[in-house]
């Protein structure tokens, strides 16, 4: 019999791999130029965003098309606190996350009663509506003209972190999201989420409090997304509602998770890194047609790997069949 892993190792090696990856990412910073640091920092930002969406969309199966509302709220709360109340960024950051989580709980209670497409569009409506409300409170948020966080002179309560600083913050946020996802994935809570995804009525029948679980997950994913949004706002210095509540960000989160493999720990990470790398590389080398190529590549990826990369690898390993064409045949009409 071939030597196999001891049960203890089998349980622990993913944690070891995760810690190794995060440590490597810390070390990576010393190898990069300032502009590259910024680019990789943005990749970590998307990793965090994808992982946070994965909690509500991937595990629980409630695809939130309005996830960006937490991103924007986190950003604007930080902006308002730092600009008007002169708070330090380090204080505004957790508060923004908590307020975003609170918003998630608040809207989650009525919205999570809806299912499938209706939930998706309702969250989209909330996101767009929130953006419009933010645009219409110019005294607090600067409205359509944007708001500028104080980063120079005496008004700046926190020194601007610079590309290196933001790299570290985004990396820590990505690691935090990874940790949360890993913990959720292996816990009873995670099983509850998967149960709700597969058959919500049956889950309720076995005694899971589906409403409470869903709202909690929504708030948690909102918290994480809000933290990322707050950091983003500080990084950008001047923020506008149409950018911070941009529906394209939600779409990107969904694309990254689904291409990587939704409902898994590794899937969103691979999806985020892969997609960001690809779009950056295309944009730098094919300045005129990069969106065209990106669209074509996404179409190809979706047709060949409809279930996402990680799930495809799992199934292929189990069946011993790696053929992509067979994969296509499995899912087509």
């Amino acid at each position: 019999m071939a030597p196999t892993l001891s049960p203890a190792w089998r349980q622990r090696w993913p944690w070891a791999a995760g810690i190794l990856a995060v440590a490597a990412a810390f070390g990576l910073q010393t190898q990069l130029y300032s502009g590259q640091v910024r680019t990789v920092g943005t990749i970590f930002m998307f990793v965090a965003l994808a992982l946070s969406w994965n909690l509500i969309g991937g595990y629980t199966g409630y695809a939130s098309f309005g996830q960006v509302v937490f991103f924007g709220l986190g950003g604007y709360v930080t902006a308002a606190l730092m600009t008007h109340a002169h708070w330090s960024f380090w204080l505004a950051l957790p508060v923004s996350g908590l307020l975003a989580a609170g918003y998630g709980a608040l809207i989650g209670i009525p919205l999570l009663r809806l299912r499938g497409h209706y939930f998706a569009v309702a969250t989209l409506g909330v996101a767009e509506g929130t953006r419009e409300i933010v645009t219409n409170l110019p005294d607090l948020t600067g409205g359509g003209g944007g708001i500028t966080l104080p980063t120079v002179g005496a008004a700046a309560s926190t020194k601007y972190l610079g590309n290196d600083g933001f790299y570290l913050v985004f990396l820590v946020l990505a690691a935090l999201c990874l940790l949360v996802t890993a913990l959720v994935s292996r816990s009873k809570f995670g099983f509850a989420l998967r149960a709700i995804h597969q058959d919500e009525d049956a889950a309720a029948a076995v005694g899971i409090n589906t409403t409470r679980t869903k709202v909690l997950t929504f708030a948690l994913s909102g918290f994480l997304t809000g933290l990322v949004g707050a950091t983003y706002a500080f990084q950008q210095v001047t923020i506008y509602p149409e950018r911070l509540f941009d529906v394209e960000l939600t779409v990107l989160m969904v694309v990254m998770v689904v291409i990587g493999g939704s409902g898994t720990v590794l899937g969103p990470i691979l999806g985020a890194i892969g997609l960001q790398f690809l779009s950056e590389w295309l944009r730098q080398n094919y300045t005129t047609i990069h969106t065209l190529l990106l669209g074509a590549i996404i179409i190809a990826a979706v047709i060949l790997l409809p279930q996402g990369l990680v799930n495809y690898l799992r199934e292929a390993r189990r069946n011993g069949d790696y053929s992509l064409l067979a994969n296509v045949r499995r899912y087509r009409l």
Partner: protein, 294 residues
């Protein structure tokens, strides 16, 4: 008071056209469970085709619309048959991704072929208004509204009276059973999508007459279609009409009573409220959300 009536009429006219933009999207989502993120791109493509026909051949856009519909039907059929049918059985949001990629492709393609210039189909008559008392009814919008209503009614007729229409409905209700009855699901799906894009194209041409457009406008139309389709209930044609007009009214009244920048907020608030209290839409039927699939 006449300002209020003017706003109301204008909003209704606008709403009719919006409904036509959204009806194809609603059809595809309701029947095939496909979320078509590239719907807005097809609308803009229709506008460009109508504009091209008008500027090269001098063809009046309301006539050229028919040609545009034919071309876009073929395009939509091909897209569904060759691309989307490949992933229809996959996890629920895979079609979303596919259409996202398609949208990038289409918008950038239009950017390259037609350039990013803003365009509009200028006709001699569209800007003139029929004046009824104190109210101005712009001719272009009036025509667009009338056509939108006519097309929607015709569509409902097609769906409920013709073989093609009924096979679409049947496949939408229960694909497995439909196949067992001899309906070729792949073909029916492709026809549905082609129909949706043809409708989008017609709406696009009309939008081109009353509005300015450029490739970047695609996203706006998709978002609008999302909202109106769900407002009216997925897969429900009359619902799309009602949803569209409601949207137009809300925007007009909101714009009249509130500062101009609150209009969009109101529209989305309406959507959320309707969804919370009537989740299957204003005119929607419950069975579309409990569909069987094999």
């Amino acid at each position: 008071m006449s300002g209020f009536f003017q706003a109301t009429i204008y909003g209704l006219l606008q709403g009719g056209l919006l409904a036509l933009v959204a009806v194809g999207f609603s059809l595809v989502w309701g029947v095939m469970n496909v979320v078509n993120l590239s719907h807005g791109a097809f609308v803009v493509l229709g506008a460009y085709l109508g504009w091209q026909l008008h500027s090269s051949l001098g063809l009046d856009p309301f006539l050229g619309m028919i040609l545009v519909a034919a071309v876009l039907f073929c395009l939509g059929y091909a897209v569904q048959r060759l691309l989307i049918n490949l992933v229809v059985n996959g996890p629920i949001f895979i079609t979303l991704l596919l259409t996202f990629g398609l949208e990038l492709l289409l918008v950038q393609g239009m950017n390259i072929v037609f350039t990013a210039n803003y365009q509009s189909i200028t006709t001699s008559y569209a800007g003139n208004a029929v004046i009824v008392g104190d109210i101005q009814l712009p001719l272009g919008r009036l025509l667009a509204f009338a056509l939108a209503v006519v097309i929607t009614v015709a569509l409902v007729r097609v769906m409920s009276r013709t073989r093609v229409g009924m096979s679409i409905m049947a496949t939408g209700m229960d694909r497995g059973a439909a196949r067992l009855m001899g309906i070729r699901a792949r073909h029916v799906y492709a026809v549905t999508f082609g129909l949706a894009t043809a409708l989008a194209g017609m709406a696009g041409t009309m939008v081109g007459v009353v509005d300015t457009f450029n490739p970047a406008a695609a996203g706006r139309f998709t978002l609008l279609s999302f909202v109106i389709a769900v407002l009216g209930g997925l897969g429900n044609m009359y619902g799309a009409l009602v949803g569209g007009m409601l949207m137009g009214l809300v925007q007009a009244w909101g714009g009249y009573f509130l500062p101009g920048t609150w209009v969009n907020a109101l529209a989305f608030l309406l959507l959320v409220v309707v969804l919370i209290f009537r989740p299957s839409g204003l005119v929607g039927k419950a069975f579309y959300s409990a569909r069987l699939e094999v």
